[in-house]
Amino acid sequence: MTATYLRDYETLTGNGGAKAPWLAGLRQTALERFQAVGFPGARDEDWRFINLAPLTARSFPLATGGGLLPSAAALAPYLISIPGSRTLVFVNGRFAPSLSSSPEARPGVTVLNLGSALASHADLLDRHLGRYASAEASGFTALNTAFMREGLLVHVARGAEAGGPIHALFVSDGSQEGAASYPRNLIVLEAGATASVIESYVGLGDGSYFTNAVTEGLIGEGARLEHIKIQRESEQAYHVGTTHLRHARDSRGVSHSVSFGAALCRNNLDVVLDGPGVEAQMLGLYMGRGRQEVDNHTSLLHAHPNCSTREIYKGILDGRSHGVFNGKIYVTPIAQKTDAKQTNRALLLSEHATIDTKPQLEIFADDVKCTHGATVGNLDQQAGFYLKSRGIGGALARRILTYAFAAEVLEEIPHETLRASLEAVVMSRLGHSEEVPG
């Protein structure tokens, strides 16, 4: 199965894809890593709950550039109108400047397509690219690193503010059936910097394709990052997305993950607290229907004292869909006064929907506060009775309560227009497109 990937790699690198030796070396090492380990399988502990066979048994040739770009109208539902925001649009993995909004210049703030930055910001990339998302992590990350070409680069200088959210919109237009794209994003916040970054992965139409995305980020000392990932791929598509964030001392981070689409979706969120005094939050919402598979793996490494983390993941599974939540929290012996709270809840709307849920706490310090709670079940009965006592029963009551379950996570997204559009997606998924109860 890997022959297609090797051939595409030869083509890509043979075309002078990487002139800088550092980049050629990074790619080559990653390719060799992929050749050695291949894709993970059921024997790998981290992948055993999800059936990757439909993805790994098939070859997805590298998406090619060119072709007609989608119309502005087709993109409109996925754009986010927030004052001061800027949008970089990528179509089938390739940057589409004509669909992107030209960034307003702000001192100390660099927002670029990674592909252009390979030449213009080689030093910066050499220092950071591949440092937080290691090709060792999995065959998927190795493959992404071998093929990385375009994506979002955000660099915010010491003490600078990026302003309104930076939106990277990755669109697969369905014109290349069975193609693969490898978005690669890098976010570097120097000490005291702040930024809000939104990544959207969107499918136009119902094509079957493969998105293998990697985002890595460094949140410098005292810096603040708000990171929002929205996955709305085609329900025939495959999405494997990995986010690695490394926090320096006293930094703050909030990471939202919202997944609606894809036949098979795997989100890896890997957060390393690489200094004391960090506060990090991880909030997730996923919905499955039909035969969708949605797998969220989060990993939190408490490597220093006095860090606090809060994690809430919620899933709503209908039809014959299958969800996975695996939340790892690792507390090293020196990470005293760690305060970590993990909650994951799943709602099964159909008797055929299933969830595998696994909190995984490994704690090697003795003065810590770590809690986790997992619930799987049906709608809240007391709330159901409350609605009935007001005359609201049946399907409407179920819809309102399911919506409320999801809204508890979405409410923490600070941008009202984005939140409203996600709430509308939830409502339409619940079979009610008229009005949002918010």
Partner: protein, 253 residues
């Protein structure tokens, strides 16, 4: 007109009998107070009337406006004009008060064969009702009871009651946990909603609320039975003497 007639009602939760033969008639235009010590069954009676699934009726009958209430689903009871103000109102995050209340009102209107109310007419209607509980319109965009104080939750119950205009309202310990200002607001709201064609059952442990909502009849529950009924002066007597003497009276009888 008879609003509610309870005949020899027995109910249990799990294997535990809680109501042991309650009979009660409430007429339109009346306010009845149900009092009694903790564990006497007064909240259970309120929940059974609203149709809470945790309680099983083992004997007896309830007629509501001549209909067999026990044959109706909780939402059908609400659609037929029965309203329970909860002792512990439930929080519904993400769902605004406006959406929730309009959905409730529309379900009730649909059951009556009436047109749904549109959002603009609804806000006009709500504006008048908000005055009853001394609230501004901003409360309508907050999520139902989410993050509300105990007093705000009770006020929200009264607001819902004002908008839904029930024929029979049951207030389950609406006074518990209220400071004196909130108590006054809640009571004056209830009083403003009294009409000759509706009725109210006030379930309370303390006489305090009955200074503000003056009942026509007072019933005392003990061990799942009504052990004494009287006029509003009975509440004052209970305040002065407590519940002990009644149990003795029952035992000696």
């Amino acid at each position: 007109m008879t609003m509610l007639e309870i005949r020899n009602l027995h109910a249990k939760v799990g294997d535990k009998p809680i109501l042991n033969g309650i009979s009660l008639v409430v007429n339109a235009g009346e306010v009845h107070a149900i009092m009694g010590p903790n564990g006497s069954g007064k909240s259970t009676l309120a929940q059974v009337l609203a149709g809470h699934p945790a309680y099983e009726v083992t004997e007896g009958q309830i007629l509501y406006q001549g209909q067999d209430l026990l044959d109706m689903e909780p939402e059908e009871r609400a659609q037929a004009g029965l309203f329970l103000a909860f002792q512990y109102p439930v929080e519904i995050p993400g769902v605004s008060n406006a959406y929730f209340l309009r959905a409730a009102l529309n379900e009730i209107r649909k059951a009556r064969g009436e047109e749904e109310i549109d959002p603009i007419d609804f806000m006009d209607l709500v504006e008048a009702k908000l005055k009853l509980v001394e609230w501004g319109p901003e409360i309508m965009s907050r999520a139902v009871n989410a993050g509300f104080s105990g007093g705000e939750k009770k006020r929200n119950e009264i607001l819902q009651m004002a908008v839904l205009e029930p024929r029979l309202a049951i207030l389950d310990e609406t006074d518990s946990g209220l400071d004196i200002d909130a108590l006054r607001i809640v009571a004056s709201g209830v009083n403003a909603l009294r009409r000759p064609d509706n009725a109210t059952i006030v379930v309370t442990h303390y006489q305090r609320l009955l200074n503000y909502i003056v009942p026509d009849r007072v019933h005392v529950l003990a061990a799942g039975r009504i052990v004494k009924s009287g006029g509003k002066e009975l509440a004052l007597e209970l305040e002065a003497r407590g519940y002990e003497w009644l149990s003795e009276e029952v035992v000696s009888a």
